[in-house]
């Protein structure tokens, strides 16, 4: 990759980060778009998927004299490699927009504007996305205080600025007998049974057909990324639970993996296997919830009862592992908080035997059910090209027929040793997403079975004094250990300067943590690449031309989790 880049861009600075990933520095703002276009179109690079656009504050000028560093994360689905493109930009200078190269850049650039105040020249709709439009200042800049809450004196207004395209007809609807006036706005959410949390869509409808729609997010923006800059690496693990709360274990592990990459730690064999078990268990839970809720929204209540039973069983298992049902905080940098409980193997056997039966029952109820098929087949179709352009990942991308599974393509941990299939759909509609999720659960069960056989004995913690949390019995009896324990928890672990972007195949799609460290116990910047943000962005275009009830089906099948959408 590096020789290719040197050949293609001879004057650009090329670096490697702590994890060995390639970073390409763009010298001037005018070079940005041609470079992005080139690495996207050039068959040598073929970086067709835009993972993320973000920025970090360079107020300490460690990365040059300019104030902000824009970061573009790219991935090649065919060639399985990644490239990070960076551009330094000063305050008040406009960056060129990448929306012409990838439509997915739209919301990502809006978020960068909202959080840092970096403006993008030529962006079609540059306004705040997570914060209220009356909000003053840019919260992720270093000078903005974490607790600086702002007054909104007229907060009782529930407002939305519709896009210019939303209301097309200039004549207002004054004549009540004009039944065919298409200028009717219907607001869905944020408190709506199908939005599960805090999503909002404003639709212009003509009869039942949605002609145009715009989405509003940010109703659950809890400043998790800002908190990452104010908490130590260990303290922040609890916040990762609350991103995708249906699969908290995956978030925990993905985050500590990133920190371990910067530290250069190789975790123990047993720990690796436990983490794989956790991630697959989380995948099953997440898919169970997604299918159950999707069916529930369309009135199939029975599946909800069936599937939730096994989710409860899984939670009981997780409670045995770490003491909490939902917010697990199980992983630690360099190990896990506890080893697996003694009865884990027996519980897992029960789980592995029981779930397939329930899955069969649910398949009998849904897969050939006339109502279900009518309501899901051919609805919300995402073509492969469209899905890639919008940065869709995970089961939704695979349902569109694109073979992309990071467990296989960019293998981490023990996935190369495990035998599993990558599940692919063909149509990219709601029905295929449902089928892909059902089959993925079966594949995960297969992986879990193999893991339980291969799970080795041995130490759980890496023998590295920088991160290893001392055993409790030693803390109470030995002075040095007590001091060490105190220092780890009061000061935090010291992470060297550097950065890493680590992705895992989370149940929802590609979950990435981009951690920039400037040394010390706290991160300089943590960016969470959540699959839900890009999925919800594609929702806007995929509901155009569908009926309102179809929009509900599509929303359920995308599995948007507000916690990781708004962060």
């Amino acid at each position: 990759m590096i020789p290719l880049l040197q050949q293609a861009f001879p004057n650009f600075r090329i670096e490697q980060d702590k994890a060995g990933e390639v970073v390409l520095w763009i010298p001037t703002t005018s070079d940005l778009i041609p470079t992005l276009q080139r690495v996207k179109d050039d068959r040598e690079f073929d970086l067709n998927l835009l993972s993320d656009i973000t920025a970090y504050d360079n107020i300490d000028h460690k990365d040059g004299p300019l104030r902000f560093i824009l970061v573009y994360q790219l991935y090649s689905i065919a060639k399985h490699h990644r490239l990070r493109i960076k551009l330094a930009i000063d305050e008040g200078v406009q960056a060129p927009t990448a929306t012409g190269v990838w439509p997915a850049a739209d919301w990502l650039e809006r978020e960068t504007f909202d959080m840092f105040g970096v403006r993008f020249a030529g962006h079609p709709d540059l306004r705040r996305i997570l914060m209220d439009e009356r909000f003053q200042g840019f919260p992720l800049r270093k000078e903005y205080d974490l607790k600086d809450r702002q007054p909104f004196p007229d907060a009782q207004d529930v407002r939305i600025i519709p896009k210019a395209s939303l209301v097309k007809q200039e004549e207002p609807r004054t004549n009540l007998s004009d039944f065919y006036n298409p200028n009717v706005l219907v607001n869905i959410g944020p408190s709506h049974p199908a939005t599960h949390g805090t999503l909002r869509a404003m639709c212009r409808v003509n009869g039942e057909i949605i002609e145009d729609a715009t989405c509003e997010i940010g109703y659950l923006h809890r400043a998790i990324e800002k908190l990452a800059e104010n908490k130590t690496y260990h303290q922040w693990i609890v916040y990762t639970d609350r991103l995708n709360y249906c699969s908290a274990l995956t978030n925990n592990i993905a985050y500590v993996m990133t920190v371990e990459k910067i530290l250069g730690i190789q975790i123990t064999e047993r720990c690796v296997w436990i983490r794989v078990i956790c991630m697959e268990l989380a995948r099953i839970i997440d898919h169970l919830v997604c299918v159950a809720i999707n069916a529930l929204d369309m009135g199939a209540l029975t599946c909800f009862w069936y599937l939730y039973h096994w989710r409860e069983e899984a939670y009981t298992m997780i409670e045995g592992m770490c003491g909490m049902r939902l917010t697990t905080s199980y992983a630690r940098v360099g190990g896990m908080m506890y080893d697996l409980p003694e009865n884990f193997a027996a519980e897992m056997t029960k789980f592995l035997d029981g779930v397939p039966k329930t899955l069969d029952d649910v398949e009998k109820l849904l897969t050939s059910n006339r109502i279900w098929v009518d309501r899901t087949k051919g609805i919300g179709i995402l073509t492969p090209e469209e899905a890639i352009r919008y940065g869709v990942t995970g089961p939704c991308l695979r349902a569109s027929g694109v073979e992309c599974d990071l467990r296989r393509d960019q293998p981490y941990y023990t996935y190369p040793e495990l035998d599993f299939d990558v599940v692919i759909g063909s149509q990219g509609d709601v029905y295929d997403r449902y089928l892909v999720r059902m089959e993925e659960m079966r594949q995960s069960l297969k992986i879990l079975r193999q893991c339980m056989q291969k799970l080795p004995a041995g130490p759980l913690w890496v023998a590295d004094r920088r991160v290893q949390i001392p055993a409790k019995q030693d803390v109470y009896s030995k002075m040095e250990v007590l001091i060490h324990h105190f220092k780890i928890f009061m000061e935090g672990i010291n992470v060297p300067e550097g950065e890493a972007y680590n992705v895992v195949e989370a149940p929802n799609g590609e979950l990435g943590f981009y951690v920039v460290s400037r040394g010390g116990p706290k991160a300089w910047r943590v960016k969470i690449k959540s699959p839900s943000l890009l999925h919800f962005q594609s929702f806007e275009s995929s509901i155009r031309g569908t009926k309102i009830s179809d929009a509900i089906a599509i929303l359920g099948s995308l599995n948007i989790i507000a916690g990781e959408l708004d962060r």
Binding site: Q156, G197, Y219, R222, A223, F304, Y308, A562
Partner: protein, 189 residues
Amino acid sequence: MAKDGSASFIPTTLAYAVKWAQKNSLWPMPFGTSCCGIEMMSTLSSTYDLSRFGAEVVRFTPRQADMLIVAGTITNKMAPILRQIYDQMLEPKWVIAMGACSSSGGIFDTYSVLQGIDEIMPVDIYVPGCPPIPEGLIHAILRLQDVIQQGEPRPHMLRLSREQAMDAMAYRKVVETSLLDEKKTEGKK
């Protein structure tokens, strides 16, 4: 009803009968925004089965519900919507703040999060936990039933009017600066 099936009288007061009916038919309006919403769904689902306590008729329109369960973080952006829903509910109405976030802001003491819904509306029951286990929510509902049955005085709380809630949403800065102004004028005197 007597053993032979003929109707008989149950001596009671109307107030008692009304309370009995109210407490056993709490219709929840679930306002689940985040993690707590998932546990609330668990409470409603088969294993925990909230219908044992007469509170399973979930109504997503506030006008048909009398128990508002606020489950999850409420941000500044969301606060006016929550207050709107509270105002739309008919009396009598009760509010459960489920979880640390809706009770106090929880671990999210940040620029965008409301520090407890009691800043904008009265709360009857607070459920601790992050998130509370389903038993916790069930306990809260049982406790609320006691409150209704015994006619206990509602917890001491600010019965905020809509205008006051609006002021509260305008946030502490306003309060603080006005306090500062008072202090300044006092100092001048």
